[in-house]
């Protein structure tokens, strides 16, 4: 399962030229407003005809301008959640949902998941903004696509609803093996979902690769915003404790996280935001933070402003910590310096844990 994209086209003032490979899982497109994300996704879905380019999905050539080949939109089997919902105004919610579906077998579960079961007899005109977004997601899911393309699908949704939908998308990714092309501004969403990350800046790919690596690359921190930078640690569930904490093994030791679903041994991806990491030279005692790992400073990356991005190796993994320059100097943080990283259990949960 894979998607390979290589397109170029002119869009008003913007010269779009983007190439990337999306392996299995979720490939996130991340970039500023106007960078060209929607345009890329439109080209993949066949709604935009790039001047030149090639798009291949699971071995099926969807577009090859050089050969004059372009599979029509309705044969691409790409479910698209549009940035604007684009519900059919003349159809009730139920008919909208079932528009691309073979049957209504999955209607019930998906409606329950999205909290739209009660809206089925409504017309789209009588829905709130978030309700429209959820129906649009359901409609794309129900069309049984080979690739799911989602353009800021959760932007109109509240936190709770996101937390309901994200695990479902994870399950789609993992169980149904459905590749997803995901456009979002929310680093938390991307960190949690994305296996691959494609950073787009002014119509070009700034960097692309495994999400974990890119999210913890100190030089990319400015891209995600200083508050958003962080690392993704691979882990494995060890045990569930009675007080609601899940013990997770990472290469540097054990972490205690708020309950994570999954059996023992199940692999996990844990995002640890750089700003949630405190560095202590001595192992702190009698503090509320449960998670303290020995680490070694490997690099410092000085940005603008008062912050410094510190990259640390903890076990076999890399972590990022964002501290003030003042602290970095006071603690004498230089590459090679041994220290401890302190993280609050609650800081990583529940948005930051995804199934690996």
């Amino acid at each position: 399962m894979s998607l390979s994209v290589d397109i170029a086209t002119r869009l008003g003032a913007l010269d779009l030229a983007v190439a990337f490979d999306a392996p299995e899982g979720v490939t996130a497109l991340f970039g500023r407003s106007g960078a060209g994300k929607t345009s890329v996704v439109n080209a993949v879905a066949g709604l935009l005809h790039p001047d030149r380019g090639r798009v291949v999905l699971n071995g099926r050539v969807l577009l090859d301008r050089a050969k004059g080949l372009s599979v029509p939109v309705h044969r691409r089997r790409i479910g698209y959640v549009f940035q604007d919902a684009r519900l059919f105004p003349h159809l009730r919610v139920r008919a909208n949902l079932l528009y691309g579906a073979k049957d209504d077998a999955r209607l019930g579960p998906i409606c329950d998941l999205l909290g739209i079961a009660g809206l089925q007899e409504r017309r789209p005109g009588a829905l709130s903004g978030g309700e429209k977004a959820r129906v649009a997601i359901g409609r794309a899911l129900l069309s049984g696509p080979e690739l799911l393309v989602m353009d800021e699908p959760l932007a109109a949704l509240d936190q709770d609803r996101r937390q309901d939908i994200l695990p479902y998308l994870e399950r789609l990714r993992d169980e149904a093996g459905l590749p997803i092309l995901y456009v979002s501004h929310a680093v938390e969403e991307i960190a949690r979902l994305a296996t691959t990350l494609v950073l787009i800046e002014e119509g070009r790919v700034l960097r692309s690769g495994p999400a974990a690596a890119l999210l913890s690359a100190p030089d990319l921190a400015p891209v995600f915003g200083p508050r958003m930078a962080g690392a993704v640690l691979p882990g494995r569930i060890v045990a569930h404790h009675a007080d609601g904490l899940t013990e997770v093994a990472v290469s540097a030791g054990r972490l205690f996280l708020p309950a994570v679903a999954g059996a023992g041994g199940q692999p996990l991806r844990i995002r640890i935001a750089a700003q949630d990491v405190m560095i202590a030279l001595d192992r702190p005692e009698r503090v509320s933070a449960l998670n303290i790992l020995p680490a070694t400073v490997t690099a410092l990356h000085q940005g603008q402003g008062p912050g410094v991005m510190v990259q640390l190796s903890a076990g076999e993994d890399l972590l990022l910590a964002r501290v003030t320059r003042r602290s970095a100097e006071a603690l004498g943080l230089v590459p090679g310096r041994a220290c401890h990283v302190v993280l609050k259990s609650v800081a990583v949960a529940p948005g930051g844990v995804g199934q690996g």
Binding site: A45, G46, L47, P72, V73, H74, R75, R76, R77, I78, G79, Y80, F82, D84, R86, F88, P89, H90, Y99, G100, R122, R123, P124, G125, A126, R139, A140, S143
Partner: protein
């Protein structure tokens, strides 16, 4: 003769007009929709000329249209005799009156439908395509339903035009009571005679009454459709 209530012959003209207008509208509707779609979305050379051709019945005097129909479809003409051999006869039949009415109303119908099709948000059609709908299905399930007010408007215009059409009809299929003598033909006949005004007026009143009913019914339908579409 001075009673306002129409006599049996006049009733026959009313019923015939309704029949002609009904079938003219109904049968031309699919063609009107198809042509509107072609004009709205087609991309091929000659589209401009096709568009002109559709407008011609409006630009030409009805008598000319009737004459051209006569030339093309009289039993003596090749096309007319070919059609007759497969059982399709227009000459001196109410079907011919319906054809004339349909041709005259066609530009009105096509314009209204085309306008409505062009107003449909292409984003919704794209969305339908991403959900796997073929062009045909997109048209049938998204474009057409959203253009329905325009289809209805086009049908009403064509129906009204068919109720009033006279020049092309009488030229093409004559004025045979019970077969091709529609309301306007009957009115015309009365107006030709000195002193026929009274009878003509009575039929005008009937025409107006029919029009009132037809237009009110279409409005009611349109409002229902609107309410459905806007939720």
């Amino acid at each position: 003769m001075t009673t306002v209530w129409p006599g049996p012959e006049e009733w026959a003209a009313v019923l015939l007009s309704l029949k002609v207008a009904f079938w003219a509208t109904l049968v031309s509707l699919p063609f009107g929709i198809g042509m509107a779609l072609l004009l709205a979305r087609g991309r091929f050379p000659g589209l401009g000329l096709l568009n002109v051709a559709v407008h011609l019945p409006l630009v030409l005097p009805p008598v000319v249209v009737g004459y051209l129909l006569l030339l093309a479809l009289s039993p003596a003409a090749p096309l007319g005799s070919a059609l007759a051999s497969v059982g399709v006869v227009f000459a001196f039949r109410w079907t011919g009156a319906a054809l004339a009415a349909a041709v005259m109303g066609f530009p009105l119908m096509v314009r209204a439908i085309r306008l409505a099709i062009e107003a449909v948000d292409p984003g919704l059609e794209q969305a339908a395509a991403t959900l796997g709908a073929s062009r045909l299905r997109v048209f049938a399930t998204v474009t057409l339903p959203l253009a329905l007010p325009g289809v209805l408007a086009g049908a009403v215009l064509a129906f009204a035009k068919a109720m009033g059409e006279f020049g092309a009809t009488i030229t093409f299929v004559s004025n045979i009571p019970g077969e091709t003598r529609t309301l306007p033909s009957a009115i015309y006949a009365f107006l030709q005679q000195p002193g026929g005004d009274g009878a003509a007026l009575r039929l005008v009143v009937v025409s107006v009454a029919v029009a009132v009913l037809a237009v009110l019914a279409s409005e009611w339908l349109a409002r229902r459709m609107m309410r459905r579409a806007r939720g």
